[in-house]
């Protein structure tokens, strides 16, 4: 197992190296740049001064290598647009809000989605099942942006029950600035999980070992909680990985529309402004989180199902 984990971590290093190279290549070869004049043309000398100051007069691979050599020492550079602040400090400032938004959204949506899925499966083809599946279908099909639009129009502008974030980290804000975005961010997850859980549970409930457990006279709660749930966990864990990665890297739509200073918004702004140090850092963090969450999911499989062996052993 330890050998397997070390192998995967070594693979992670290779992945990050490749991702960083590709990102540098794309950033530097996309038309335009971070310091294109906006109105009046600058003289050639003035423009050369700017490019020299930020190292943009060098080819992309030189800048990539410079970045790699500093990054391994923990120096991820300074933003072009916040010259007094290190990229890592900016990211830390934004990440807290995204983490809180994501954690709260997962905290309410994941258990609720699983519970509703189980109830729908157990009450299959009843009115309860139909209501739950309809609501779940609604939440996964309606575009999140339209939900945001209507909720802002009704609850923030119309009724003024809630407000936009005032630019400070989410954890320093009163609940009326984050309850609505947390609810909307989790809504899609509830729907997807409900549908996933219902389908998985129905599949498991039809298995022979469930019928056997019932035939043995076990209580329903034991049959569901011990035998059915455990076998349903593998597909749930599979989707929990991307849900978690999405939660901790921030939701661009939700953060922008509710003025939340989070990573999603931060990343999008950096793309608009071609703030290369921020773009590369955010991409690397995203790739790391996704790769590690996949590794954790693989490890979780071995705990849930003893038949699963990692690293090629059977």
């Amino acid at each position: 197992m330890a050998r397997y984990i070390l192998g995967r971590l070594a693979g992670l290093a290779f992945v990050l190296l490749a991702v960083s190279f590709l990102t540098f290549f794309l950033m530097y070869n996309t038309p335009g740049g971070p310091f294109e004049e906006l109105n009046q043309p600058l003289s050639a000398e003035a423009k050369a001064n700017i490019l020299r100051k930020y190292g943009l007069d060098q080819p992309f691979y030189v800048n990539w290598w410079n970045w790699i050599t500093k990054a391994v020492q923990g120096d991820f550079g300074i933003s072009y647009f916040y010259p007094n602040t290190r990229v890592i400090d900016l990211f830390s400032r934004y990440w807290g809000s995204s983490l809180m938004l994501g954690a709260l959204a997962v905290a309410w949506s994941f258990p609720l989605g699983v519970a509703l899925g189980i109830i729908a499966a157990l009450k299959r083809n009843t009115i309860i099942d139909q209501v739950i599946t309809s609501v779940a279908l609604f939440t996964v099909t309606i575009p999140i942006i339209s939900l945001i639009f209507f909720s802002i129009a009704i609850f923030i502008i119309g009724l003024r029950w809630f407000g936009f974030n005032n630019g400070q980290p989410l954890y320093e804000q009163p609940p009326n600035t984050w309850v609505l975005p947390v609810f909307i961010f989790g809504l899609g997850t509830v729907g997807a999980l409900t549908r996933y859980t219902r389908s998985g549970m129905l599949d498991v409930l039809g298995q022979d070992y469930i019928r056997t457990a019932r035939a043995k006279g076990l209580r329903r709660s034991v049959v569901i909680g011990k035998h059915a749930m455990r076998n349903m966990l593998i597909p749930l864990v599979t989707i929990f990985g991307p849900v978690l990665a999405n939660a901790v890297t921030g939701s661009t739509f939700v953060e922008i529309t509710f003025a939340i200073p989070g990573v999603g918004r931060f990343f999008l702004e950096s793309i608009y402004t071609r703030d290369y140090p921020i773009i590369i850092f955010t991409v690397i963090i995203g790739a790391t989180i996704l790769t590690i969450s996949n590794l954790l999911i693989d490890l979780a499989y071995t705990l849930i199902d003893p038949r699963v062996r990692l690293g090629g052993s059977h």
């Binding site: 038309p31 335009g32 043309p41 600058l42 916040y82 003024r160 630019g167």
Partner: protein
């Protein structure tokens, strides 16, 4: 639409019946009071012990934390907070002299520029109380006020301005607005040479005069509009610049100010500044604080009652303003920065090198319909020339016929041009006001009347400018945009600024229309001191530009600002050019004094629940 706003409005206003009731009751009470006074003889004067009745005191005027007396209709100091949505664009610099395009919200409040403009766009003194020019027109002497202090207790002196200009010209600074003081604009002696590294910054044409409060500028050619250009001449403090670099004002620990405000807290997503007690009395603000939060949609934040001023950003928001009585009452169109939106051609390439073809296209732009149906009349006026009404040397009315919408004439000119072309590509800078919609209307008109297919492409701002200003390795213009739509607004209130943009790519301008006669007229007008003759030359130059049809003028913007009814002060009163509310470009800043003059009225609590 803000339902609560409507309710508030209803709550605040009295209906006709209530008004009659109050007036009736008031009349009865006043009548009774008058009768009783008339019926009662005046009491004989009696000696009253001095201690029995305290002397009547006039209501005590409120004074804010920097010792400035608030107007009688002002809210108490704790409510004197002005909240805006901020620009939303990232930026850390707080001073225009440190960096222009990466400034944060609430920048330019930490110094007093050499000159300023008032709400009628008239030039008024700033940190310079007076100025004079030498007989040859090349040496300017500015006399600085000696009562403006930095917040660390040191006075603002000529040394600060010298350090500021040296910083801007220093190649290591990589200042992004060097064109402003270069040849053709500010003409500061040796500025271009210093930027290019061939001359040390110590040889710049900016130096201290006879004492700490005399500042001397030398120009490479006569520049009569230099004081107008110096509305942007905002000082950095020499000491802070040397100790902490140009972004010292984005850190409250290193921030130092001689302007109306000082930085209290700074983060990329929220900036808060507080009134500065150290500046001269006439620059001290009524406001206690200003707060900027980069709400992605300022209009929504305004409707939610979280900010005090905004600008509608799209057609749906404009419709909301037009259809909502409260928002309509808040709305004020003004001239902004005298911005003009226009189409342009690369006249070096066919078919746009054909004058008759360009003239044909110019006569196909139906400006009135565009303004009626796309932008709405509230937001724009039709443009038949570059200089907007109110701008010095503006002459739009006289030039109106040259590019008038005339389909028959356009068809005739097209036939005479001999051009055969099936398809054109019209590139629109994505940030231009209703750019894609307006370009599509124009494209349809060309297709319908000349049978030429026009593909409209919206291009992000940075990419568009890179393509427009592209040059070959040896520095020759090499634009890849043949037909485009873009805008320009003034940087300083002089025709040399607006018309200088059109001087041609050979001379460092934006576009490939390099007309020698136009360039000569600009060169001749620039140094002239006789205003009438100068204006005439600029008008001749503009007429030539309109006739040549390298540009098709579309509209002059009249941006609409929404101001909450509790924002008060001199800038909110009508001006000569901004006839609704005078508050002039560039908004609430130290460039125009508005930051020192606006205040929060005592009706604020009717609208604002809390300060974000």
């Amino acid at each position: 639409m803000s339902m609560s706003n409507s309710r508030k409005t209803q709550g605040a206003k009295l209906n006709r019946r209530q008004m009659l009731k109050i007036m009736g009751t008031g009349s009865v009470v006043m009548g009774l009071a008058a009768c009783s006074q008339a019926a009662t003889p005046a009491p004989a004067p009696t000696a009253v012990p001095a201690t029995a009745v305290p002397p009547t005191e006039a209501p005590k005027a409120m004074v804010n934390s920097v010792g400035k007396e608030l107007p009688p209709d002002a809210a108490p100091p704790e409510q004197q907070a002005y909240v805006i949505a901020g620009s939303g664009a990232p930026g850390q610099f707080m001073d225009i002299s440190a960096n222009v395009y990466n400034r944060a919200s609430l920048s330019d409040l930490y110094g007093i520029p050499l000159t300023r403009i008032n709400k009628d766009f008239e030039l008024i003194p700033g940190s310079a109380k007076s100025w004079k020019v030498s007989d040859d027109g090349n040496t300017w002497t500015f006399a600085l006020r000696n009562d403006i202090m930095w917040s660390d207790g040191t006075p603002l002196t000529a040394d600060d301005f010298v350090a500021t200009f040296r910083y801007m010209a220093d190649p290591k600074s990589a200042y992004d607005f060097t064109w402003y003081y270069s040849k053709g604009s500010g003409n500061i002696k040796n500025f271009d040479e210093a930027v290019g590294g061939s001359v040390p910054v110590e040889e710049l044409g900016v130096r201290k005069g006879a004492d700490d409060y005399e500042l001397i500028f030398e120009t490479s050619e006569v520049t009569p509009y230099l004081p107008r250009l110096f509305v942007y001449a905002m000082p950095l403090q020499a000491k802070a610049l040397a100790a902490h670099g140009p972004a010292y004002n984005s850190n409250p620990d290193t921030s130092v100010s001689c302007g109306p405000f000082i930085v209290k807290s700074f983060s990329p997503t929220r900036v808060e500044v507080a009134a500065n007690a150290s500046t001269a009395d006439d620059f001290k603000p009524f406001l206690e604080r200003m707060i900027a939060v980069p709400f992605p949609d300022g209009f929504q934040a305004y409707q939610a009652g979280q900010i005090d001023q905004t600008v509608p950003g799209n057609i749906a928001q404009v419709d909301a303003v037009l259809n909502d009585p409260q928002l309509s009452a808040d709305a004020t169109p003004d001239v902004g920065d005298f911005r003009t939106d226009y189409f342009f051609f690369d006249v070096t390439k066919p078919p746009f090198d054909n004058l008759k073809f360009r003239q044909a296209l110019a006569h196909l732009l139906d400006r009135d319909s565009i303004i009626q149906f796309v932008t709405k009349p509230l937001l724009a006026r039709p443009a038949y020339s570059f200089l907007a009404p109110g701008f010095p040397a503006a002459n739009g009315e006289a030039l109106k016929d040259i590019q008038q919408y005339n389909v028959e004439l356009a068809k005739q000119l097209f036939a005479e041009s001999g051009v055969t072309v099936d398809k054109l590509v019209l590139q629109v800078r994505a940030d231009v006001f209703f750019g894609a919609e307006i370009a599509q209307v124009y494209a349809d008109s060309i297709k319908q009347n000349l049978g030429i297919e026009v593909e409209v492409k919206s291009v992000p701002q940075k990419d568009f400018m890179a393509d427009l200003l592209k040059r070959t390795a040896d520095g020759k213009p090499d634009t890849t945009i043949d037909f485009g739509y873009i805008s320009y607004g003034m940087d300083y209130l002089d025709p040399s600024n607006m018309l200088g943009v059109m001087k041609g790519s050979d001379l460092g301008g934006r576009h490939t229309w390099n007309n020698k006669q136009f360039q000569d007229l600009l060169a001749e007008a620039g140094p002239m001191t006789n205003i009438d003759e100068r204006t005439k030359l600029y008008q001749d130059a503009e007429k030539l530009m309109v006739e040549e049809c390298a540009f098709v003028w579309c509209l002059h913007r009249t941006p609409v600002n929404l101001w909450k009814p509790y924002i008060k002060g001199v800038p909110m009163e009508p001006g000569k050019i901004n006839t609704n509310r005078g508050v002039a470009w560039p908004g609430v800043s130290a460039f125009n004094g508005a930051a020192s003059e606006i205040y929060i009225g005592n009706n604020v609590l009717e609208y604002r629940k809390s300060i974000p």
